[in-house]
Amino acid sequence: MYNSIESDDTLIDMIKKGDCDAFNPLVERYKMSLYRLMYRMVYNRDDAEDLVEEAFIKAYKSISTFEIGKSFYAWISRIAVNNAINFLKKEKRSTVQPLEWHEHSLADKKGDPVKMTKQKLLKERIGAAMAKLPEEFRTILLLRVEENFSYAEIGRVLKIPKGTVMSRLARARQKLRKIFEEME
């Protein structure tokens, strides 16, 4: 059995030697972070869960290509993000609607704004604004802001130069601010 003491590298080394049970602690360690990232990209629980599962299986299959010493989370995020991008393209869903937005509309109709604190409204608005962003802007913002990836890491994940990361992020922020203002 494995526990949280083993480092990612130790576990990956064991997996490379054929011990597939060593993959379990890695799944446990990163499944929620990946789920959060996937959910932010597709705004659907079932799809996000499927994408996380698929990302882990793909990661296991190509674990031999992982370089010990590098960040496993960054590596598997790259796999997951690419999966999600392909998924959105396949589904032809450039923009999505978060659950909060539906809840908000429902609350409005019921005429029950009492529970809607200012903070909650703000959260819902940002969720809705993010959902309205084109997929490439939403993804790059999530990687930078949510996942705190450096420009270099984002460049590796999205296979774009660092300069493109910088300009795309700036445009994404500008677009988000515009959408946000329009919703006020």
Partner: protein, 257 residues
């Protein structure tokens, strides 16, 4: 005041991705430009809101069951050790297999596989023949051409060895062919007179295997084989190309000349 700060620099500054020179430039500009300061604050606020974004909790099945499901799937997908390197070994294995097959095919072209029986293909003699018998020390081309005969041997009666001096013609047959060839050995072969004597000769005309008998599939005759083996007939050709062949060794009567 003119604002010359690009949105990229402002965004890069927020992310801490600028070099020292750019950072100093942005900081200096922000001190002087209220509009850019406001934009910077808005970007920072949006980032904060993005981090605080709500998300739907995953299902219980995901929380408690996804590990097991993933491990079960990867265990199923775990390939046998030897197949892990399939992408590397498969092309090499196919190449080796192809090489072995080609080698064996070419060997079969040179050698005739015969065990105890020779499968005989009955053919109909033709009057017009495309005969090509190369000139050699033991073959007189003109004489050989005269020895084209119809296959008229009788297949009954007792065996009789023809004298060495008696000329011998061979009617060659091969599986699937309908051409007739006559070969010559310069009168050196002695074959039984009244029974089928069938031989396999290689592309150089050398006798390899011999079978005799009166049935449609004659038995291998090792005595006759020993006697005839190694003797060289005219190399058989089909359409100008030397080839292996089954031949019937049939004594030719003097009257046929």
């Amino acid at each position: 005041m003119k604002c010359d700060l690009s949105i990229e620099l402002l965004s890069g500054y927020l992310d801490g991705e600028l070099d020292d020179e750019q950072r100093v430039f942005v900081e200096k500009h922000l001190k002087q430009c209220r509009r850019c300061r406001n934009a910077f604050k808005e970007f920072a606020l949006l980032d904060e809101q993005i981090r605080k974004q709500k998300f739907e909790e995953p299902s219980r099945e995901f929380i408690f069951g996804v590990n097991r499901r993933i491990i079960d799937k990867v265990k199923k997908k775990k390939p046998f050790f030897i197949f892990r390197y399939t992408p590397v070994f498969a092309p090499a294995a196919v190449a080796i297999l192809l090489f072995v097959v080609l080698i064996n095919i070419s060997k079969h072209e040179r050698m005739i596989g015969i065990d105890d029986r020779v499968v005989y293909a009955e053919i109909t003699p033709r009057q017009k023949l495309e005969l090509q018998i190369p000139e050699s020390k033991i073959v007189d081309v003109k004489e050989a051409e005269k020895k084209i005969v119809a296959k008229t041997e009788t297949r009954a009666g007792t065996s009789e060895i023809t004298p060495a001096s008696e000329e011998v013609a061979k009617i060659a047959t091969y599986e699937g062919a309908d051409e007739l060839y006559t070969l010559d050995d310069g009168g050196e072969l002695q074959v039984p007179k009244d029974q089928i004597t069938r031989a396999i000769i290689d592309s150089t005309g050398r006798v390899l295997k011999v079978a005799t008998g009166n049935s449609i599939i004659p038995e291998r005759d090792t005595v006759m084989e020993n006697r005839l083996q190694g003797q060289r007939l005219t190399a058989p050709t089909i359409a100008g190309k030397k080839t292996q062949m089954y031949v019937d060794l049939t004594p030719v009567q003097k009257a046929n000349h």
